[in-house]
Subunit: 155 residues, 4 copies
């Protein structure tokens, strides 16, 4: 994974103002995910984003537990980021939307929008997954069922 290869990133504003939803996952901020400052520990947001990613894989017909068991392909993260627009606290209920997707031959970028009950956007994020063969850890094409789903949903 040469770090110099080009990579698609969404703009924070583009994500914040997005309206689409390729997948939506309802989440309640957990009691134990709050930190000593009293709000969601920033890194736990990624746990919630990953939950939506797993839901997307399942709806594409390739649930992650099955993918891991088959040892055919893997999709390690190359890059992740998040922007926070205000604190989230225990008891807040949010919807994690996979708002945008960008599909390259061997890589996808997923953009997330985390929306509170009052419809305000609490955070946005993105994850860049590189697809590899488990055997030799070299790049391979994005699984067609995933490409198909993302392409269909994006239209």
């Amino acid at each position: 994974m040469p770090s110099s290869a080009p990579m698609h990133r969404f703009e924070r504003q583009e994500l914040k103002e997005s309206h689409g939803s390729l997948f939506a996952d309802e989440v309640a901020i957990r009691f134990q995910d709050v930190d000593a400052a009293g709000s969601l520990f920033f890194a736990r947001l990624f746990d919630y984003l990953h939950g939506a990613y797993e839901g997307l894989l399942e709806s594409a017909g390739c649930p992650l537990p099955l993918v891991l068991a088959e040892k055919s392909w893997a999709a390690p993260l190359r890059h992740v980021e998040a922007d926070y627009f205000g604190p989230l606290t225990f008891g807040d209920r949010v919807v994690v939307h996979i708002a945008l997707a960008h599909v390259e031959e061997t890589e996808i970028t997923l953009g997330y929008r985390v929306v509170k009950e009052d419809e305000s956007v609490a955070a946005v994020g993105q994850t860049v997954h590189t697809f590899i063969d488990v055997g030799n850890r070299t790049r391979r094409p994005v699984p067609p069922e995933l490409t198909r789903l993302l392409t269909a949903l994006a239209n």
Copy 2:
């Protein structure tokens, strides 16, 4: 692992009043291990106990990363418990002592005492590990290097 097999448990009072230390691990309560009520999330205490257990294994000459790589034996937990005598908060520094050990043929019980800087005991805990062959998941003797260390330290 028939749940009816006998199992050694220490008494909470016995652990609280223990003085020995087969292994000691200094820990600072982490920012992100506090919960929405403002003190250490109770389950994270076990993360700290496990750190001491890993230190013990390393000092016995069988560090856990190596044990996992060799795929010879494993020591899944059969039983764990903890008693809390007061809240721990972010910034508290404690010492996790492995205070007591009970060694059976295929099982060990480790007792922990978690001590604050003012020497008060914040919590005690215990973990019962059953030793198995990784291949067929049947019980096997406790590795001799571990028995030797625990026996030597206990005297």
Copy 3:
């Protein structure tokens, strides 16, 4: 909280063979809750048990976020324990049942039964909560709405 005060504990066998369900919470073992040995990190089971406890509080009309905001009472854990009857892995779906409850004047013991899709019991656990006034941290009676619910459900 004198550590010598009597405390109710259920027997592991009693929990394993229990059939009741005061509250049930469906949980999928999370990708990130697995450890380097490939199965659920033992301490994360308590995160799932706590989820069921939060659900119980909500169904009693005292959701934990509200309880924390009101700063009237708190229910710190005095004791917790768990017994594991076999490994749980990523993708396993379990139901966490609050199977048994024992109510004292200022303390409750909740017993949990964690059941897999094949109806086998993967683990049992229990948590002992002591009720205190937030102001002075002295013991106070179990909130009546919780006593009422637990008593009603237990019959």
Copy 4:
């Protein structure tokens, strides 16, 4: 915190090729921070970065537990990101370097370089902290002791 305000971001390549170290924190990848795919769960990298940030604050004379207790200022995260150059697994020992710092009037960007024992860079990251008064949650200047330390170290 208007999301449109300018924000300093380091380039991933700039971080990867950096050599400086404003603060260094040795970390062993924890048993429980590995995921079901067998390597460090990507989001746990941020837990390690936060550890280095806390170390930096302490060396600047404003340890985070004290900062929280004083309720004077807070530094919520506005933006975080990470790039991964290869998997980290249980037992790996890394050094988390705070490699670069950019100081604005009310905001700092910290850049991190995570280096393995073979001197290869496993990951880089950055965190953008906005300084606010705890009372009214409006922006305030970066605490002078932190500015002083970062300026001194950067030269």
